[in-house]
Symmetry: C2
Subunit: 360 residues, 2 copies
């Protein structure tokens, strides 16, 4: 296992806030960042170099890959051909298998199901007949979700009754989809695991996540899971990461249904990347998720994921970022703004992490 | 007092590692950085924009100042004309008075002396006759120091005996100088104070600093000062900052001679900027010195300077940075590398901060 020395260039596909925070982490370790994106974004401000180009332009991707030492990505919808073009020249970490598993909900759920890990019931939907059969099998309420390109609650239609089938199909534009049955749960949590090139793993503490309008609102540590469920949740994440021969930060979102449920922990979805629910690690851990993602893909050892403070991360969505003067007056509040110009509704403009002395 | 909103541009004179860490802190707060430097340096990698130009090119400085919202600097040897050219267009923080006081050892010591703050005995030296008179007054051992452009022990000659006068003058190139008498002390410490545009101050914990070959080697918190001396040291720094109507991070290096000394605390020198002895604040505080410098010059409130962990910062000088693979395997060690190519002897290549649970 060869570690990339300081001065090496990390290639990042994508230029959003995750890329920005990855670029900062890379700089801290003496590594340079060359981002590739189809639009100018927050990561460009702190990157050594950037290339503007379409994600499906494999020639451009190849030219870019030639200039970097390792390739990673900040979003899971990288075209597989682009990843393959890059992989022909330089290591892509996490690898193509993680992308394949994560960018198609049907592939993702099939993969996790095969590992024997509990999931909400699901069925493929390519037509109205499929949907009617799926409702027959799974029942309502349920959620119709596009197989691809869904995030922050987009590309989803919640069905309360079977007679909403046509409405739901229209709502998601009749795209290839899955029907997912509702799972009764107490709360949502996420496991953020760092897996090194040598296969060693380290887990961050598991936060409680709350959502508003389908978008993550807060992540809080310590979270709600009792120790035995923490072990179980980590085991789920480890099995997924091992199966994918994963390198970097992997996030597994879980529903927690309580100790007495048949399946206390049910996988919601996985993200083959650093994750919004891990932003608190920047301020509450010596080594944050961005640091460990860069370390992993550069072949460095994973740093300990221990937490020195309790923390609550709150997203600043849309106009909430305009409250920066008040937030700047709060004590023990770490402000992170992503440098985006337009505070459109639903847009992640920044986040704050409120720190408290360590309790557990 | 108007605070600069996110999206504003921070102009930084200088492109070294201090500028690099300032640029990262600015990015976190949603502010952009435009650096100005006469050489390409570590700060350029993480800056939104940079201008290469001589520091004494006031026309170029003016053009640059027109593109930024506030001007700061990462080194104290900014030509005063350059600072004045910038100040004619945009606020320069800290201001020209701090630069004047800090870039000439004679002006610095005269200023501090007038405040009634203890200093090592000193005298101006412009000729051999001056030096002989100074030796007569102060005695030996002593250190002959150039008035300007000294750092990391450069531009200094240590004199053990009066007959070394000519050697010492030759050693510093017969530049305008001061002779400084030796002060007996137990250890060196530094006060790092953040002062806002509103005059409010916050102090970081005072580290113990050790040096090797005139270059800072380690800074450790908690430091050695008993509480009453901490109060006294902070008072010294506050008076200096207030007198300069200072905005940003100010560093005051002090010799500590022990509780029973006539002057337990003696000022060694001041630096009108973020300082190497404050690098541990990145990893051991929710808001580090770089964060608070940016907040101050942007007119934001100063964030609390409380520490969540004990810390020891160790500089990586020259080839010490080649130990990164071993350092990366250490637990609780935060690695910071500055992206410099050549590990020349005496060159600051990076630093590590080793964290421990909070004791005091």
């Amino acid at each position: 296992m060869t570690a990339l020395p300081p001065g090496s260039v990390i290639g990042i596909l994508g230029s959003g806030q995750l890329g920005r925070m990855l670029a900062i982490a890379a700089a801290r370790l003496g590594l340079q960042t060359h981002t590739y994106s189809d639009t100018s974004g927050p990561a460009f401000d702190v990157s050594y170099k950037h290339t503007l180009g379409p994600y499906d332009d494999t020639q451009r991707i190849s030219a870019w890959a030639n200039e970097v030492d390792v390739v990673t990505y900040e979003f899971e919808n990288v075209p597989l051909q682009a990843a393959a073009a890059a992989a022909a020249l330089k290591p892509v970490r996490p690898g193509a298998r993680a992308l394949e598993a994560a960018q198609d909900r049907l592939a993702e759920k099939t993969f996790i199901d095969r590992l024997g890990i509990p999931l909400a019931p699901f069925a493929a939907v390519n037509s109205k007949a499929d949907l009617e059969a799926a409702i027959e099998k799974i029942g309502t309420p349920g959620i119709l979700k596009t197989r691809r390109f869904g995030y922050d609650g987009k590309g989803q239609a919640r069905m309360a009754r079977p007679d909403q089938a046509q409405w739901a199909l229209d709502e998601i534009g009749n795209a290839p989809a899955i029907l997912e049955g509702f799972v009764k749960f107490e709360c949502e949590v996420s496991v953020i695991v760092a897996r090194g090139l040598d296969g060693a793993t380290q887990f961050y503490d598991i936060p409680l996540n709350t959502h508003v309008d389908g978008i993550l609102a807060t992540s809080t540590v310590p979270g709600p899971l009792p120790p035995n469920q923490v072990d179980r949740a980590r085991d789920i994440a480890r099995r997924i990461a091992d199966e994918l021969d994963y390198v970097g930060i992997l996030t597994v979102e879980l529903f927690y249904a309580g100790e007495d449920a048949g399946s206390p922990l049910v996988v919601n979805e996985i993200a083959p990347r650093v994750h919004n629910s891990g932003h608190w690690t920047i301020d509450a851990c010596a080594s944050c998720q961005f640091d460990n993602h860069i370390r992993a893909i550069a072949g460095w050892p994973i740093a300990p994921t221990t937490r020195h403070s309790d923390a609550e991360m709150t997203n600043l969505i849309g106009h909430a970022a305009n409250d920066w003067p008040e937030l700047a007056r709060e004590t023990s509040t770490c402000i992170h703004l992503y440098g985006k110009r337009d505070a459109r509704p639903g847009r992640k403009m920044g986040h704050v992490t409120r720190l408290k002395p360590l309790t557990t």
